[in-house]
């Protein structure tokens, strides 16, 4: 490793992945609260559930869903990286390489998800 200015942590991969993990975690948590509440409408009436879940089929929400899945996929892959850092004997040595692997897998997963989600959305979309 090259000895650069500053510390090993601040402003580098370790810190930014930690920041990203916190922000995505908080976002997912609040979505989860809403998602359990909207799903609970199946106990109110089919009409109530269908009306509210219909909001997820709006083009603006489709963009939001891609953002949500992006947050989930990052949190998931980076979480697995944290587990490896903690439990794999070589984890701390390769934590940066593992972060770039996480970002690479994230890009691939998100290209696949975004294309599929948009195609399925456009297929069944009735227009405005």
């Amino acid at each position: 490793m090259t000895q650069t200015k500053g510390t090993l942590y601040k402003g580098r991969e370790g810190m930014w992945s930690w920041v990203g993990h916190r922000i995505t975690g908080v976002g997912i948590f609040f979505f989860l609260l809403v998602h359990v509440l909207d799903t609970s409408l199946v106990r109110v009436s089919p009409e109530a559930y269908n009306a509210v879940i219909g909001a997820y089929k709006n083009p603006i929400m489709i963009v939001g869903e891609i953002g949500l899945v992006g947050a989930i996929v990052f949190h998931a892959f980076n979480g697995l990286r944290i587990i490896l850092v903690d439990f794999w004997s070589q984890g701390t040595r390769y934590h940066r390489q593992m972060l770039w692997t996480v970002m690479g897998l994230w890009v691939i997963t998100m290209i696949g998800f975004t294309v599929r989600h948009l195609m399925l959305f456009l297929d069944g979309w009735g227009g405005f």
Partner: protein, 168 residues
């Protein structure tokens, strides 16, 4: 002090490698001190539940959004069809509990980090714990008391009922 490989890499000699000296037992991972055992359990839980949630949520997203008609297929009948199978009931129940406890513990950590006033921390965590309990209880009750084949006032099946209701 014996010179190990990692010592040789340190730029300045005479500086001890991190954690090489005596460490207060409460900061050690082995041995459960009384005050540390909860945080230790929480730390383990985050990793175990996290790994499980990756599988639970990825399958949840794939089944609901990537196959069939994707987002457009999700309606009352779709949920009813899934929960007619006990595997999906158990799947969603596990996902609900693990996700809320994992997320709740993450939020607890963040509140502890950033809310410096004792009373602020107490209030935020009280609200958090209440929200987590309400959501877990509500979600669990919904999964177990769900009724897929609803009748209208005249005793007819509702139009939105899934097709398997015809045979019941």
């Amino acid at each position: 002090m014996t010179t190990t490989k990692s010592d040789a890499l340190l730029p300045a000699q005479g500086i001890e490698a991190p954690r090489s000296g005596r460490i207060d037992p409460k900061y050690l991972r082995n041995g459960f001190s009384k005050s540390g055992s909860f945080e230790m359990a929480a730390w383990v839980f985050m990793r175990v539940s996290g790994a499980a949630l990756v599988v639970l949520i990825f399958v949840h997203l794939a089944v609901n959004l990537l196959v069939g008609e994707g987002i457009h297929q999700i309606d009352f009948g779709f949920v009813a069809g899934k929960w007619a199978n006990p595997v999906w009931q158990f799947w969603d129940l596990t996902m609900l509990w693990l996700a809320m406890l994992h997320g709740g513990n993450g939020m607890r950590t963040i509140i502890n980090d950033y809310a410096e006033k004792d009373s602020t921390r107490m209030w935020l965590k009280s609200i958090l714990y209440l929200s987590v309990i309400v959501i877990i209880v509500l979600g669990t009750m919904v999964i177990f008391t769900f009724e897929p084949c609803l009748l209208d006032n005249s005793g007819q099946l509702l139009e939105s009922s899934p097709s398997f209701c015809q045979n019941v």
